[in-house]
């Protein structure tokens, strides 16, 4: 564990609440990292706008463990408060206030039953790779759930006295992938109709003195009301809208379903422009750009797919960071991004395999010089990877991360073999000094 994470954890007095190091590898430049998330499960991006943002109340989940990576300006200070509301916890009713800064190098784990609130989150995007817990199966079969699956959130006012909180019994049994895949499917169906607002549960006292508890949810907003996105003439390139859930005036939850494992690229704060095109043969990129909305990102595209009706078509686009927009770049379309400093890119690709099954996802980046317009033509993979394949891929990624290899992201270049005269792909992987997860 890094010294920074140790120092942060040394202040924590609530059982199970903890920071963990985030495994990441150098992206070839100082301060820039690729941060893999080896999971097939859905995750949420949470955004907070750019004006001062405080939640203003505590939230507690009974069945959800929040696993939060805070992405933003590393000089910004976030304030957080917690109360342990778990009746059976050794630290029941313990309270904690901490401060921290965003970093892609660490993740905060908040167990179910721990009330939490944050302030100072403006400009920060939070990635929540949450875990779901269920009641013991005896209770599930009896229908005695002990929580409300339709709305797993209990709110407490900030003025709550920790010594007086009622004890809660959170769920304890980890859910299987089957539950996550079902949830992802439900999320996609629900949000296909447009953005929705988060439900809130409120108590009302009627004039008769009767108490009533209502769940209130503002009506769905049409996706057409959101900002316009660029359009591409290159076949298959598209800027799409993510469905989102409004949780406040300026805050949104944006679910990103799998099942492919995904990664974040932290581009650091130094000027960052691609120095060559990148082309994937078996990876269709699905990119979400997180950062200040006013930042203008440049994108250059060239279609290099054999047989494409837009072969060698070139395009230039400019757009802003918008966590509700997803850029899809098909296999074989070369791309280069510019003005990427202080931008975090989340890529949850769709993987395609080749006929012989020789495809290696970790080595699927071909570099092509930006200035060389003698564009090549590539055969791209056509066979969508199965769920079984992505689950095996996740297992391999976890194994690689456990070995703590000191590597950089590999690069591949196309060269002509002087003996055969054929073009061949050469994968270059440079061993680098160990990147401490504490680097920030």
């Amino acid at each position: 564990m890094s010294t920074t994470t140790q120092a942060l954890n040394s202040k924590i007095n609530i059982e199970g609440l903890q920071w963990i190091d985030r495994w990441r590898i150098s992206n070839g430049r100082p301060g820039s990292f690729v941060v893999p998330f080896p999971t097939t499960r859905p995750v949420n991006i949470v955004t907070h706008g750019e004006k001062r943002f405080d939640y203003g109340q505590y939230g507690i989940h009974l069945a959800q463990q929040d696993v939060l990576t805070f992405l933003g300006d590393s000089s910004q200070i976030v304030h957080a408060r917690f109360i342990d509301c778990r009746k059976t916890s050794t630290t029941f009713r313990a309270a904690l206030e901490i401060e921290f800064s965003p970093s892609s190098s660490r993740t905060l784990v908040i167990p179910p039953g721990v009330a939490h609130t944050f302030s100072g989150l403006e400009g920060i995007s939070t990635l929540n790779a949450y875990s779901v817990f269920l009641p013991p199966i005896e209770n599930m079969l009896k229908g005695a759930l002990g929580w409300t699956p339709e709305n797993d959130i209990i709110n407490l006012p900030l003025s709550t006295d920790p010594a007086r909180v009622e004890g809660l019994m959170p769920m304890t049994q980890p859910a299987s992938n089957r539950v996550y895949y079902r949830l992802a499917s439900l999320q996609a169906s629900t949000l296909s109709g447009g953005n929705v607002s988060h439900a809130e549960t409120r108590n009302f006292t009627l004039d008769t003195g009767e108490q009533v508890r209502l769940m209130l949810q503002p009506e769905t907003e049409s996706l057409a009301e959101t900002t316009s996105a660029p359009r591409s003439k290159i076949k298959g390139v598209r800027f799409e809208r993510h469905g989102a859930v409004r949780t406040g005036e300026n805050s949104w939850i944006i679910p990103v379903a799998g099942p492919s494992p995904f990664y974040i690229v932290d581009h650091g704060v130094e000027p960052y422009n691609f120095d060559s095109f990148g082309v994937h043969l078996g990876q269709e990129d699905h990119l979400t750009f997180l950062g200040a909305g006013r930042r203008n990102i440049g994108l250059k595209l060239v279609d290099m797919r054999r047989g494409s009706e837009t072969l060698h078509c070139e395009e230039w686009h400019e757009f802003s960071c918008d966590p509700q927009m997803e850029l899809v770049i098909p296999c074989g379309v070369a791309h280069a991004l510019f003005n990427m400093e202080s931008v975090f890119t989340l890529n949850r690709p769709v993987i395609y395999l080749d006929e012989p099954g020789a495809y290696e996802p970790g080595k699927d980046v071909i570099d092509w010089p930006l200035t060389d317009q003698n564009y090549p033509v590539f055969n791209v993979n056509r066979q969508p990877a199965s769920l079984d394949y992505t689950e095996r891929l996740v297992a391999l990624q976890r194994q690689a991360m456990a070995e703590k290899a000191a590597i950089e992201t590999p690069k591949a270049v196309i060269v002509t073999d002087p003996v055969t005269g054929k073009q061949v792909k050469v994968v270059l992987t440079r061993a680098a000094p160990v990147v401490a997860a504490s680097a920030s």
Partner: protein, 88 residues
């Protein structure tokens, strides 16, 4: 009707059950079983998108008519909310 062995599949560590064990209906199992065309009805509260809802700057619910449950539900609808009674 879902069997106990199918409910066990929801757990990462699959518990031992027999299909002779009764399964009582509950909202979680309904959610897991919901057909696509009933999703909007069963899932419109978006479980597991749960985040902390930011406290409103102005309490927009204070304007609702609390003279009766019926008028409360009607005024909530007029204010642009869907409202569901959880408990009375």
């Amino acid at each position: 009707m879902i069997k106990a062995s199918e409910v066990a599949e929801f757990y990462e560590v699959k518990p031992a059950v027999t299909d002779s064990q009764a399964v009582h209906p509950n909202s979680f199992i309904s959610m897991m079983e919901a057909a696509k065309d009933t999703v909007a009805v069963t899932y419109d509260r978006l479980a597991y998108l749960a985040g902390i809802k930011a406290a409103p700057l102005e309490d927009q619910y204070q304007a609702l008519d609390t003279s009766s449950l019926k008028s409360l539900l009607q005024s909530a609808k007029q204010a642009g909310f869907s409202a569901q009674v959880i408990t009375i």
